[in-house]
Symmetry: C2
Subunit: 304 residues, 2 copies
């Protein structure tokens, strides 16, 4: 099965702490590497976890708070030093274009590769980029400033031959290849074996949603309904609900409630407040509501 995974590079809220950096993760589908958010130190953790940085073709920025963007200038500089040639897409809310342009201008950085910056329409769920068999969508979150969630959906249609039907015919390897490629086959008796008769198509739609930063909001659930894997911020424990609402963040319990209501299979929680030295308190709170919850720990890889 095609590789579809999430590699956590950082998941601290607001500030790096105790050697751990703020939000950044890689969404990998086959040979497509997408960086989601880019906190300070992202380029260091790309090195540390041996992610081939020049394979990153897209950067998705959720919002323009420092803990999600302060690693971007250094990473662009790093791309340039490694003589990157491939174009780079950057998706983010309004303002991302002037942020990137200002950094390049100010540091008089010569950029020899193309940077295509697309500011996101936050009016609803929007297809922002398509790869073969893999689509990226944005959708609005509810935070103090304009913030986007991201949805990554596999759209792979595979053709499988129905074995129970196959044995009725004496087919050559070439003929089986044709059927797998969706073609009809002409048989020796002059008849045609219709592809639809002997094959069935399987649509694989593994999906991953990224929700950080956001206050608990039922509307979010409509965008992430039934995704396989959900990353959701869980900045605080639920006894700090007032603080979460005031700062427009979520508690671990709310992240789990969102996962449950959205009917997802797996929940990864992150964006941890530095008040929690041991994040397991957040994990326990979330698991009480949604058992299939995991911590977004640096360097961990999750299969989608």
């Amino acid at each position: 099965m095609t590789t579809f995974e999430v590699i956590i590079l950082g998941s601290m809220a607001a500030l790096p702490f105790n050697g751990k950096i703020t939000s950044a993760q890689i969404v990998r589908y086959d040979n497509i590497f997408i960086l989601v958010d880019c906190g300070e130190g992202t380029q260091m953790n790309l090195q540390k976890y041996r992610i081939p940085q020049n394979k990153i073709s897209c950067i998705c920025i959720s919002h323009l708070h420092g803990d999600h963007i302060f690693g971007l200038p250094g990473l662009l500089s790093s791309f340039q030093h490694s003589q990157r040639k491939d174009a780079l897409y950057i998706f983010g809310p309004a303002g991302i274009k002037s942020y990137v342009e200002m950094i390049i201008q100010l540091t008089q950085q010569y950029i020899s590769f193309e940077i295509i910056i697309k500011e996101i329409d936050l009016s609803g769920k929007i297809l922002i980029h398509s790869f073969p068999f893999f689509n990226m969508y944005s959708f609005p979150l509810d935070h103090r400033i304009e913030t986007s969630g991201f949805l990554f959906v596999e759209n792979l249609i595979t053709t499988n031959i129905i074995k129970e039907v196959l044995h009725k015919y004496d087919l050559t390897i070439e003929q089986i290849k044709l059927l797998k490629a969706g073609k009809d086959v002409f048989l020796e008796d002059g008849t045609t074996l219709k592809n639809a008769l002997i094959t069935k198509q399987h649509t694989s739609t593994r999906s991953y949603a990224y929700c950080s930063d956001t206050v608990y909001n039922e509307k979010t659930i409509t965008y992430i309904d039934s995704v396989f894997c959900l990353y959701h911020e869980a900045t605080y424990l639920h006894h700090l609900l007032d603080k979460a609402i005031e700062r427009k963040h979520s508690t671990a319990q709310q992240a789990a409630e969102t996962a449950k209501k959205a009917n997802v299979k797996k929940l990864i929680i992150g964006h941890f407040s530095s008040r929690y030295y041991d994040f397991n308190v957040l994990l326990e709170e979330a698991r009480a509501v949604f058992p299939e919850t995991y911590l977004a720990l640096e360097g961990h890889t999750f299969s989608v």
Copy 2:
């Protein structure tokens, strides 16, 4: 003796590498903490080496290349999160003001402490800030963009009583205290013991100069003549002199020649190209010219 030391936070050139960050160091004089340059990850290394970040009263930025400034946005954000109250001075070349202002504006970061940004006049050696017994100067370096060196000079005058003269008088403890404070003393016989007769003043002028980034230039030597300790960039080995000249950097040999000609006591070399996995090759080259050379390794403290 008053603490006067340099604590290295980072010294990679251009890019972080192998877990090590780009330029940043603390110049500490007594309880005054000055941050010189602020590469990406500076706030992480302040935590790592347990530097009390809110004691930093001044930040000196040599120039606006990313490897010297990309940690500044995160550090300012960190100051705010730790509820800093004290004013912060930032010194840097033209453009530093708009860089800081843009970051604050873009990330909608509320800053509750005063930031005083002073753009440096690069026409010569300029006194940029005075503390009690400690002065900070800037001076021009020769790099691809406007770049400033910094000079930190202790100016401590201590009054010592001349023991050989003291024994001629029968003085009370109070009278000795008056003399140490620079006062004259009235003796029992009605005469006045002039302070100048029994004390001598000692002027302590320990000094530290920071030169990064710069091509070798004899004019620099006039600004750093006879400093006690010199930090000088040594990006390349001397066989890459052409590259050093083209990129307006120095070789380890040139750093050592500068130290020798400036008649300094101690040289710290840094700003290492990531092509050198083991920086000892740079150290060896420099020591062949100037034996009192040391490597600017992260976490190392040098006494001035």
